[in-house]
Amino acid sequence: MSIEPTTLPVRSGEDVVKVRQAVRTLAMDLGFSLVDQTKVITAASELARNTLTYGGGGECRIERLNQGPKRAGVRLTFEDRGPGITNLDLALTDGYTTGNGLGLGLNGARKLSHEFDIWSQPGVGTRVTITRWK
């Protein structure tokens, strides 16, 4: 039940900004409250940066979900063909990072979303899908 899915590249810092802007436009269009907009944009920002920093770049698919008049939502899928994550539980632990960030982004994105799905295979890549309803 989704219309106009768009796929954006995530290859540079500017691309992360573009993903944020696209998500903002869609969330505003769907009538998300300011708080909900900010949450989904921030989650998108975290995941896009992870795709770039840890996945070596990839892409982001943005979908508009419409399930009935009252159930509108945004679904975002971030996919990369990077090194993958060996220990998902550890990666989702607050404060754990293999880079030099705060180690809060991935789990933060989960907490900012209604639905969160992560698939990763070492050596193949990582795919994270989040959904936030209005």
């Binding site: 907009q37 921030t42 940066r49 607050d94 960030g101 982004g105 933060g108 907490k111």
Partner: protein, 289 residues
Amino acid sequence: MNRLASRLPAMVEQYQQEILTEWVKLQLEAGTWRAGRLQESQLRDESQRFLTLLVNNIQKGVQFDTRSAQWADIRDFLAELSRSRATQGFSPSQVATFVFSLKQPIFARLRANLLDEPEVLADASWETTLLLDSMGLYTTEVYQQARESVIARQQEELIELSTPVVELWPGILALPLIGTLDSERTQVVMETLLERLVATGSSIAVIDITGVPTVDTLVAQHLLKTVSAAQLMGADCIISGIRPQIAQTIVHLGIDLSAVATKASLSDAFALALKRRGLSVISSSAARG
């Protein structure tokens, strides 16, 4: 090829005057020189100088190499021409046409003189094409570099302009941040703030993030680094402009900002800063009474 390479230089030198006259005539007829603010006399002068340089250099070899010392004066001439024409409003292709248009008069001379030796003619033509093509492309390259350096400078200026540090009160600085806070900008922000802290002898800095649309973990990390650096220098930091939606997001992300004083608005932060400095604002009527 050596035999052939020796024919082109001699030919160009011998018919230098004829080639120049015809070249200038062609350029004037084509009219592209009028696209910018170029004087006819300047066009004549530049054409003459270029051809003279070409004649002098071509004796030593016909392969244009921008890095070799042999072509240094031609390279400098072309670079200067490209830059000046860029500022005069010419397009890159119009600049390159200056060089390319020299082909026709040279070909004409070659054809007139080497008609009996078709092989020599073909090779000399090929040499001419290679030589002038690489020179024409070089002008385009310089043109593009000039443009890029302008863009790079503007970007740098933008970064600096977008991070002003203002003094709210003696000893109290404010740093209003607007836009995306990436690593590069944070570096500039941090440096500017630390410099101004020293220059003004301030002890309190208010970092206002009202204009930062998204505060994610990276932005938070950058803010915390800036705050720690300021604290190391003995200054207190207050972060202001934490709107309700930002506050909720920060909590969800699990970012710990408890080490820093935070306020919703810049005026709240200013009031706190004044208080810490032992200052207070009172209404003038109350003071008189």
